[in-house]
């Protein structure tokens, strides 16, 4: 405990910009010397993709090498540069503080994206992992709207996701590609990237409309019965798609144009987080919490509970549909089996691991479960013992998840830290 506290004290003076600079240094080191020098001298076959986790688990002999790589490339440069640079990053952050908050946030995000792009660009596998993680973030945040903020145990998200994935895939296949099923492209494929947002919105809208099947029963019932209604909805969507041979049935549907490169997905993720954050911190969004905690009191305080429930479901489903659309265009192949119980377990794991009623929690949950899932891949089946065990422990010790009931405070996150040099806020 003592070391952790000391550590926090030392680095409490580093602003977000400082961390960015540190990470940028690490990424640049990896980019320029990672393969040619560092991996080579440490005896690693190639650049460790996910901090060496895969290598370590596959070949235990490599553990010291991989750890050394992490230390040399990541830990030391990040900490050193972050700390030293705080001399000038703090004034920089103070300068940015003078700008409007949104502008400062945009500048930070652009920096962040640049670093992420550079890091992921080192190989294709990393790009894929980052893309899927971002999609998971959208998905998890959207589930949190219903399961966390609104407090229902909804199991229908794979269904919403499937609706979004299929509707957007059908549209892109119809409009921008020469497809066996839908014939020649109706529009020049060059328009694809520009119309893709509309396609995604259509997918989201389809999911939102589909969610009415769950939202309307939620007026009269909640809890377990609603859980079953939502579960039934999920199975209905899945088996409906399986029976629709025109869109591939159980075999699935492939060949979607690659319209979802990393920047596009990053943009949608940010948009999703921003919109959902705005919503849940507004009074209209807090109405979700009142419905969860005491519906009768909510009604008496003029809250339109039916409208609120409907909003929560449609809004949550909409973003799940967007996530589905992106998912389909990342993998360029979907089948109904992808949107079933297994996906549900994964989604619930991410939400409840990260924390209810918290966007930060959802981001943490989505990133942890995704990265953990990829990192533990070499363990094959044992992965499916380790992840559930971790989740059980989280549930026992933090029943609402790791970071629950906490909202993003952009101002605090981005502020310069030199003012607080004397003490560490707990």
């Amino acid at each position: 405990m003592g070391i952790a506290k000391k550590f926090r004290q030392i680095f409490s003076t580093v602003p977000m910009l400082g961390w960015f600079l540190g990470i940028l240094t690490a990424v640049l080191i990896e980019y320029y010397w990672g393969y040619d020098y560092i991996s080579y001298y440490l005896g690693l076959p190639k650049i460790p993709v996910l901090f060496g986790a895969l290598i370590m688990l596959k070949e235990p002999v490599m553990i010291p090498g991989a750890l050394a790589y992490d230390l040399i490339v990541y830990v030391i440069p990040v900490l050193l540069v972050a700390k030293i640079s705080s001399v000038f990053t703090n004034p920089g952050a103070a300068l940015l503080e003078k700008l409007p908050l949104w502008l400062s946030a945009v500048i930070h995000l652009v920096c962040f994206y640049a670093i992420l792009h550079l890091w992921a660009g080192i190989n294709d596998y990393r790009v894929l992992v980052v893309k899927l993680t971002l999609v998971s973030i959208i998905l998890t945040v959207s589930v949190n709207v219903i399961n966390g903020y609104q407090g229902e145990f909804s199991c229908s998200h794979p269904g919403f996701m499937a609706l979004g994935a299929y509707v957007s895939s059908i549209l892109t296949l119809m409009l921008f590609t020469n497809d066996k099923i839908f014939g020649a492209a109706l529009l020049p494929p060059g328009l694809g990237p520009f119309l893709f947002p509309l396609v995604l919105l259509a997918g989201g809208a389809a999911a939102a409309i589909g969610s009415l099947a769950v939202a309307i029963p939620s007026f009269r019932t909640r809890g377990d019965y609603l859980a079953i209604i939502s579960l039934a909805f999920m199975f209905i969507v899945k088996s409906a798609i399986e029976n629709l041979n025109i869109i591939g049935g159980a075999r699935g549907m492939g060949g979607q144009p690659d319209l979802a490169p990393l920047p596009v997905i990053f943009f949608w993720t940010l948009l999703c987080i921003w919109v959902i954050h705005n919503f849940v911190t507004s009074i209209l969004g807090k109405a979700l919490n009142t419905v969860r905690d005491d519906e009768a009191a909510a009604e008496s305080m003029t809250v339109k509970t039916r409208k609120t429930k409907m909003t929560a479901f449609m809004f949550g489903a909409f973003w799940a549909g967007i996530a589905g659309g992106l998912f389909a265009h990342v993998l360029t192949y979907i089948n109904p089996g992808m949107f079933s119980i297994n996906r549900l377990a994964e989604i619930l794991a991410m939400v409840y691991f990260g924390g209810l009623n918290s966007i930060v929690g959802s981001i943490v949950g989505a990133v942890s479960i995704n990265v953990l899932g990829e990192a533990l891949r070499p363990l094959e089946l044992f992965k499916w013992i380790i992840i559930p065990l971790i989740l059980i422990f989280v549930m026992i010790f933090r029943p609402y998840g790791l970071i629950s009931f906490t909202e993003i405070n952009a101002k605090k996150l981005l502020e310069a830290k030199h003012k607080r040099q004397q003490g560490v806020s707990p």
């Binding site: 029963p217 377990d224 199975f235 209905i236 088996s239 005491d294 409840y352 013992i385 549930m395």
Partner: protein, 311 residues
């Protein structure tokens, strides 16, 4: 006249099939319902407890068939398999309760649901690791005999499944109505809080309930193995979720409701398949459930939802 009679037999044949299918759902969904009555939450690991129970039954049956064949008549082997499997499987139930649910007594219900799901995944994976991906075949515990009554065919296995399931449910009914433990369970489903005050510890009743549910599920597993011998670590997911749906449909906490809804689900599935292509089975079954619950949100025998049951 002739087609009409044939049609009649056809219906009758399907009723028997539906009874067999419904028996599995009924016996498994009772396990969900019992746990609900006591702990006010669903044991999402129950489907996988059923699966593990089936594998235990498979192991016991294989051993007993190898050792005892010739020494004792087949019905005795069958009975011994059932009894030993029930005993062993009930410890799985106890384990799930003690390891997974007890630490979460005070936690939100959703956390317990997640824990249950995760325990289920651990069970599936453990079985996969231990036995590999090869599909095992449940050994037949009795010789299959076909009877031809009028226009319908019935095997002794089918008859046995239906009868044993009914006997199990009657036995459970007696247990709940007559014994001290059963009464405590009933009391707990009426009033969750009062029973501990009366000197019955929830830490005894809860594992007992899990044990009984797991025991029943394991017998359902043996019977299932006689009807559909191919074992699969994911069989619990398929049957379990449907039985769970039946438990809700019946009205949460209602054992009678769960059993009836289990049979209803069996009927829906079998009769849907007679009219529509079998690929539409899930679609129609779940649509019917969605409609029923939309218009009758409490299930058949359920209580009014209470404000206690939140997040």
């Amino acid at each position: 006249m002739e087609p009409l009679i044939e049609y009649f037999y056809y219906i009758l044949q399907n009723i028997i099939n539906a009874l067999q299918r419904g028996s599995f759902y009924a016996v498994i969904s009772i396990g969900y319902s019992m746990v609900y009555g006591v702990l006010m939450l669903f044991n999402f690991a129950h489907g996988d407890i059923f699966m593990v129970g089936t594998y235990i039954g498979f192991g016991i049956a294989t051993v007993f068939l190898a050792v005892l064949t010739g020494l004792v008549p087949p019905p005795v082997i069958f009975l011994a398999t059932v009894v030993v499997t029930m005993f062993l499987a009930s410890w799985i139930g106890v384990f799930v309760e003690v390891a997974g649910y007890r630490p979460l007594r005070q936690a939100p219900r959703a956390s317990a649901a997640i824990t249950g799901l995760m325990i289920g995944i651990i069970f599936e994976t453990t079985i996969l690791i231990m036995l590999g991906a090869k599909r095992l075949s449940f050994p037949p515990l009795m010789e299959k005999v076909n009877y031809h009554i009028g226009g319908i065919y019935i095997t002794n296995v089918k008859a046995m499944i239906i009868i044993i399931s009914l006997l199990l449910m009657l036995g459970l009914h007696a247990f709940i109505q007559k014994t001290k433990w059963g009464m405590a369970m009933r009391a707990m489903s009426y009033d969750f809080l009062a029973v501990p005050l009366m000197g019955v510890s929830i830490n005894i009743i809860a594992p007992l309930t899990f044990a009984v549910g797991a025991g029943l599920a394991s017998v359902a597993g043996i019977l299932y193995g006689q009807a559909y011998p191919i074992l699969d670590p994911y069989m619990g997911v398929l049957l379990g979720w449907k039985a769970f749906v039946a438990a809700i449909l019946g009205g949460r906490g209602s054992i009678k409701g769960a059993a009836l809804a289990g049979y209803l689900l069996g009927f829906i599935e079998i009769f849907v398949a007679t009219v529509f292509p079998s690929t539409l089975r899930d679609f129609i079954a779940y649509s019917i459930i969605l409609i029923i619950l939309t218009f009758r949100p409490r299930g058949f025998f359920g209580m009014e939802h209470s404000t206690k049951l939140r997040l």
